[in-house]
Amino acid sequence: MTSYCRREHTRRQPGLWRFLGGPIGEDNAVLGLSHVTKRYGQLEAVRDLSFTVRPREIFGFVGANGAGKTTAMRVVLGVLEADSGSVIWDGVPITFAVRRRIGYIPEDRGLYPKMKVQAQLEYFGQLHGLTRKAAREASTAWLERLGLADRAKSQLQSLSHGNQQRVQLAAALVFSPDLLVLDEPFAGLDPVAVDAMTDVLRGEADAGRPVVLSSHQLDIVERICDRVGIINHGQMIASGTVDELTARGPVRYWVDAPGAVAGWYVGVPGTMLVEQDGSRWLLQFDDGADEQALLRIALATGPVLEFRRDRPALTQLFRDVMSGKAIDE
């Protein structure tokens, strides 16, 4: 039996990456979607979608229901065939052998309800190429790690929803995948379970197994994802680190100056008031406005208790995107 040991990530540098504009070097992307389009009849579920995922990275997909996240993930897994475009792994079109090295949690969870937990994990380990012995050891280790060791011999259906989710995660991890693709992994989990799962995912990413996940829980995405892609109507409208994305809106500053009076900021050209909350003022800058000049004027009014760039939460950004407000690229 041929077993797929953990592969060394030897980077190839083919022309495709230059075409994709992927960076070269240590940060080289390991997974890429290139101009992927997938139609269901008349509906274009995914249109010309491209994105890259790098080693040691957690990539978060956000988007409304039906935006195309699940379709994109199924295309990566190969359970769906794209109408056009390609999935690239390590610089070359992905193969079935590589796809078998992907740990997957589909949107619709699926395990055998009447099968015992550990037997189930061993089975998935074997299907992904582990020997029976290796599958047993790996499943024992994961059950231990996820706090399910005492439920190893229970039928899956006897477990709570949260514990079933953990087993589902363990099933995706048991064969030490090269990539994790998780569709809504946090759905229906309580905050403690979310923390446990995010710990595991961070550990996997740090160990060199990148994670692609989708979620509606933007606060979690903001917290754990290194990079985020916002998808709408099958198209990627924005992608980047959370900082990059939230920095894309208009430049706004919060200034807390108790001594300031109305119109104190007019001395700085291109400044306008967005909101005032007691002594706190939210000011928006046009291009080229000088925040240091504003700070000097503020200090002239008396003490300044706060002077800080306002960054919208991902949630706000997402709402803006969904409501059609363009993101300033």
């Binding site: 190969g78 359970v79 079935f96 699926g110 055998y112 089975y123 074997q126 299907l127 992904h128």
Partner: protein, 401 residues
């Protein structure tokens, strides 16, 4: 990991998951009990040859105990003789059930006392013996040597049967029906289990994770093999019980139940199961809910039931007929019909060989078609997949690569 190892892992899971279920235990017990009851019924109700009779002989009647015993043995009945000095003691034993019949008196006054109903063979034998006793006395009185008269009477009429009844034929029909019935029942139960198993994986969405690791045809084949092995275990259990019971009750003689019948039963089971399991798997992949599984599999079930009806009404009554021969070549029917002919000893080897080759070819063709339908349908959740879509005739991208 190579294909074989993957299919083995899938088949092992299917086998273990099903053989441990209560359904398997219950159906096995029911089938074994059913076959056992059928055999016992054949042996004891329709076949009236009893075991041994305990017969008491009082006083003078003891002189005929030896000839009675000898003549009864000729009819295949064993008589154990119990001599009694007095009628009273004998009657007490008869009442208590120690003996089945009590014979007293001699000659024309010979009397048989029984509990309620006399054994017909014993009755005949006693009549004959008593008459002979009387006749011997009469002949001796009239100075005719009884031995001479006996020699004169020592003949049988000549019998000539225009259509002889072959004693073995009933055995053959019984065996043929047992084999065909077991194959039919197992195919219809396990075929539907295959369909249900495919739908189960579809309805609980596990198929999506499975297909991220294995090819659709590997998944389908692993399932069919795993469930088939469970069926084989059940068939072997039932066959063993049937063989042991049948030979213990002497319902069938060993030559009829030759090893060829058993081996051909297993071969035809494998062929028949594969033909139908492929059809059931394809049917199951086209629906997403268990309640739709039966309706989509209806045409397959219909063919199987029709085959069984033909086995009962055409093949079993006349295994050698032209109709039976024709049916035994049609691949979807041959796995049930041919075993009936083989058990009846009317299937020449070359016919069996051709029929096996035809069935194998059918398995090959069905595997290709079922594999295609399965691959195109198994990830489509929702309503029933259209047949043209399932066969991949209509353009669609909604299938795994």
């Amino acid at each position: 990991m190579n294909s074989q190892a993957l299919i083995r892992a899938i088949a092992t899971r299917e086998f273990l998951a099903r053989i441990r279920t209560r359904v398997f235990t219950i159906t096995t017990i029911l089938m074994v009990a059913g076959i056992g009851a059928y055999i016992l019924l054949q042996a004891y109700v329709f076949n009236t040859s009893a075991a041994s009779l305990e017969v008491g002989f009082v006083g003078a009647a003891q002189s005929i105990s030896a000839p009675v015993r000898a003549e009864a043995a000729g009819f295949g009945e064993t008589i154990n003789v119990h001599p009694y000095a007095s009628l009273a003691v004998g009657t007490t034993d008869l009442q208590s059930g120690t003996i089945d019949a009590l014979v007293s008196g001699s000659g024309a006054t010979t009397t048989m006392t029984v509990q309620s109903k006399a054994d017909s063979i014993l009755q005949t034998v006693l009549n004959d013996t008593a008459r002979e006793q009387v006749l011997t006395q009469y002949l001796t009185q009239h100075s005719l040597p009884p031995g001479d008269v006996e020699n004169q009477l020592n003949f049988s009429i000549h019998e000539h049967e225009l259509t002889p009844v072959n004693a073995a034929r009933i055995e053959q029909i019984v065996i043929g029906l047992l084999v065909a019935g077991t194959l039919y029942t197992t195919m219809i139960i396990y075929g539907q289990l295959v369909a249900a198993g495919v739908v189960e994986e579809k309805s609980n969405r596990i198929v999506e994770i499975l297909l991220a690791a294995v090819r659709p045809w590997q998944l389908m084949l692993g399932k069919i093999i795993g469930i088939g092995l469970v069926a084989l275990v059940q068939v072997v259990l039932i066959a063993t019980v049937a063989l042991v019971l049948a030979s213990a009750t002497k319902l069938v003689s060993t030559p009829t139940l030759g090893i060829d019948v058993v081996i051909s039963g297993v071969v035809w089971f494998i062929l028949g199961y594969l033909i139908y399991a492929l059809l059931f798997a394809a049917a199951g992949s086209m629906v997403s809910r268990q309640e739709d599984a039966t309706s989509v599999a209806m045409p397959v079930i219909f063919v199987l039931v029709a085959t069984w009806i033909i086995a009962l009404t055409v093949a079993a009554p006349d295994p050698g007929s032209t109709a039976t021969t024709v049916f035994s070549f049609i691949p979807v029917m041959s796995p049930v019909i041919m075993p009936v002919r083989i058990a009846a000893g009317v299937a020449p080897f070359w016919q069996v060989a051709i029929s096996v080759v035809l069935a194998l070819a059918t398995v090959y063709v069905f595997a290709a078609i079922a594999g295609r339908i399965y691959r195109n349908s198994v990830l489509r959740v929702g309503g029933r997949v259209k047949f043209s879509d399932a066969l991949g005739l209509a353009p669609s991208g909604d299938k795994p690569v």
